[in-house]
Amino acid sequence: MATLNSKLPEGSIERQWDTHRFNLKLVNAANKRKYTIIVVGTGLAGASAAASLADLGYNVISLCYHESPRRAHSIAAQGGINAPKNYANDGDSIWRLFYDTVKGGDYRARESNVYRLAQVSGNIIDQCVAQGVPFAREYGGLLDNRSFGGAQVSRTFYSRGQTGQQLLLGAYSAQIRQMAAGTIKFYPRREMLDLVMIDGQARGIVARNLINGELERYVGHAVVLATGGYANTFYLSTMAKASNATAIWRAYRRGAFFGNPCFTQIHPTCIPQSGDYQSKLTLMSESLRNDGRIWVPKKKGDPRKPQDIPEEERDYYLERLYPSFGNLVPRDVASRRAKEMCDKGYGVGSTKLAVYLDFGDALNRNGREWIDEKYGNLFDMYHEITAEDPYAAPMRIYPAVHYTMGGLWVDYNLMSTLPGLYVIGEANFSDHGANRLGASALMQGLADGYFILPYTIGDYLATSKFKPVKTDASEFVAVDRETRGQIDRLLSIQGKTPADDFHRQLGKVMWDHVGMGRNRAGLQKALKMIPEIRKQFWNDVKVVGGSNDLNSELERAGRVVDFLELGELLATDALHRNESCGGHFREEYQTEEGEARRDDKNFCYVAAWEFKGEGKKPKLHKEALKFDYVKPSQRSYK
């Protein structure tokens, strides 16, 4: 039975990581080549981990469902990456980044982890520059910084609006260098379908070759999951289409605990949905809220064009509700209020699920050229997608799911509750607590992969005993058989409905009842509806084609199976957490002004869920959170 030991180091927080690193056992340089580590996923966390482990001398097996490591969804991150270099001389420090991140996470993250993250973040920038990542620079040739949400200092490094792309290509270059050297064996178009445990240790995986459909067995001494988040549980999100939760969900079913599944983040400035055909949502940088004013008509269902609605008939509701922060309230607050206005019937556009983001004042004040220089690319993107000219009429925006703070529970060493199974990047329950600050996801992914996992995994390898295992071991055979069984079952149902339809149904339930505003009745309803959809899925799904070649319908159906289970756990966690914090807003727990009301007395813990078997209730384990350095306080933006 797995137990919850977070292995947090003792002593003053500034020295914890140093002390811990010193106490970690090392693997002798000549012995490293005797160990094989399987890394699943090639985003920022996976690519940086694979490259760094190979640098050290380990044999690395790397897989991803894409044709190339460079296509992982980290590539889509726009804004930037935080590091407290204090190049701007504005008073930044490791301590300040630590403080901002703990507070931004609404006091639901571990202080020790967050402090370490802040400590190593400076090294990331150094590493990336050495790789040739073209960060933005000032005229003097030094690196430029910009400001981002939740911070009062300029600590965000960026490459235009393509920071994720440039950082990923840096990590990719480190990975392909090792592929050329033969220390990383890379397998493209492979999807991990299950984890293989042998004698209580994670020793391998079963993956499907997406080209020829064969199930392949990979054996190693440890398994690292860097497979990203589970925002696609909501169907419509800003995630890549194939981004999925199968790897972490299968690991959960094998005994890895799932931490804080209900902590999901919803970004306020996305382009709204325009029809049922829509496959995903597109995010626009939150910097738009610096100069755009958000409003809805005061009259419900006002049929007039926005330009024809006079000033006194507009409700600038954020400015009304939050006079001091106005349109610049944090992401969770802005998102929730937009939904509330639409739910009350004030939404705009053909679907009535949008609010206006109006640049009229800024255009009158500063002129088109000024706007163009600051936001030109975002205005172009909006124009391209909606065919509406945002210079002539206000933009329409609506919130969308775009990040999950929850994930597999890991200890300070980034190891899950299963020995030898490590989880890094967005896939773990992470250092962001209940809400992630902008420009911190890239930081965490690369911190885990470059500077944390390579040390901590050595301690496990050095202190564990491994029996020789081959891919014909009975445990591999059994997992292979189960995986094949599910594929055969999916193909044999031959119902009437494509898997995507069930995914959409699930997404609607999740969004309506487990989205931005959650309440007991809605969550209970969701917990009834999700098993219903699951039942219908297993009765009526139609998967065409066979299992012996590229079959995107089969891939999709397998992913939907896991989303249909994960959605239920997400709702279960949301129902149990009788408080509001960060991205988790329970309508019953709010202040008189409608703000999130945390309950530190009863819920200051990480909820780690243990799988107890098909159709059985998962078991809740609690890891108490202690705040010795940052005093929890109520957030207010009035």
């Binding site: 490259a51 760094s52 640098d55 894409h66 044709e67 190339s68 460079r70 296509r71 992982a72 889509a76 270099k85 190049y87 090294n123 150094d126 590493q127 520059v129 050495a130 790789q131 040739g132 073209p134 960060f135 933005a136 620079r137 005229y139 003097g140 040739g141 030094l142 690196l143 393509q162 994720g164 792309q165 440039q166 990719y172 480190a174 392909i176 260098r177 592929m179 050329a180 080209i211 890549a240 289409k241 194939a242 325009s274 029809g275 055909y277 496959s279 995903k280 597109t282 391209e384 997608i385 065919a387 470059y450 500077f451 390579p454 494509p498 995507d500 139609k542 065409v544 084609g545 590229l550």
Partner: protein
């Protein structure tokens, strides 16, 4: 909107392949090209037929997965856009649209519209990196880089590796793809220690993969969704010459 599609269907690498005609009805002009294909595929699945296979993922023009030749143009009629960014309003009602995979010898068809572009990764493996290990890097501000140089390197680095340049080139050349990486690392001081070996190895690998030569038609630049300039090819040629003669 309604359309007639002529879509390339090919069961596997060795299948001959052929165009199949599909009538598509009631498509929103705001749908992306890939969302239009989603609708076609959902109908096919309901009828029990195999859907059209195509590569895609981020659907916001940055991952480089998608890539279709649409009525003869790589990524379709719009400039500055990958296939996933193309909207159906760019077409006229009742248009007949042909949809094909990238056509180039080093990009064999896997199925329908999905091709194998791993040749591009092998070119990168030959030298598209700076040989630095994790750890031990100097402070990020230790070397100043003029803003204009950093910006030009960023222009080159914005390549998404989609392969449209190869598909658009009558010679099936990967020069723009190779040039983007060689140019980025030739501009930045971090790339200088290995610049000679890099350009020689990457060009050798490009040739070994069977990509064609460049004959300066600039078709690559015209179809590049990131509008990477052929000036980077000029820099690649200079780098190559320099490496050969010095």
């Amino acid at each position: 909107m309604n359309f007639t599609l002529q879509v390339w269907r090919q069961k596997s690498r060795n299948d001959r392949g052929r165009f199949i005609r599909y009538q598509v009805r009631d498509i929103s002009p705001d749908a992306s090209f890939l969302e239009m294909l989603d609708v076609v595929n959902a109908d096919l699945v309901r009828k029990g037929e195999e859907p059209i296979a195509f590569d895609h993922d981020c659907r916001e023009g940055i991952c480089g997965s998608c890539g279709l030749v649409i009525s003869g143009r790589a990524h379709g009629p719009n400039q500055k856009a990958a296939t996933c960014e193309l909207r159906m309003r760019s077409f006229s009602n009742n248009d007949e649209i042909t949809v094909e995979p990238w056509r180039a010898k080093p990009f064999p068809v896997i199925k329908d519209l999905v091709v194998d572009r791993t040749a591009l990764d092998r070119i990168m493996q030959a030298g598209g990196f700076v040989s630095v290990k994790t750890g031990g890097a100097a402070d990020a501000n230790a070397v100043a880089i003029p803003k204009a140089v950093a910006e030009e390197a960023m222009d080159a680095a914005s390549c998404i590796g989609c392969g449209a340049c190869v598909a658009a080139c009558k010679n099936g050349s990967a020069m723009l793809f190779v040039a983007a990486k060689v140019s980025q690392l030739a501009l930045l001081p971090q790339g200088h220690p290995e610049r000679k070996e890099r350009v020689l190895r990457m060009i050798a690998q490009m040739d070994a993969e069977g990509f064609g030569a460049c004959s300066n038609t600039y078709a690559c630049e015209a179809e590049c969704p990131k509008q990477i300039s052929v000036e980077h090819i000029a820099r690649l040629n200079r780098e190559f010459l320099r490496a050969k003669v010095t």
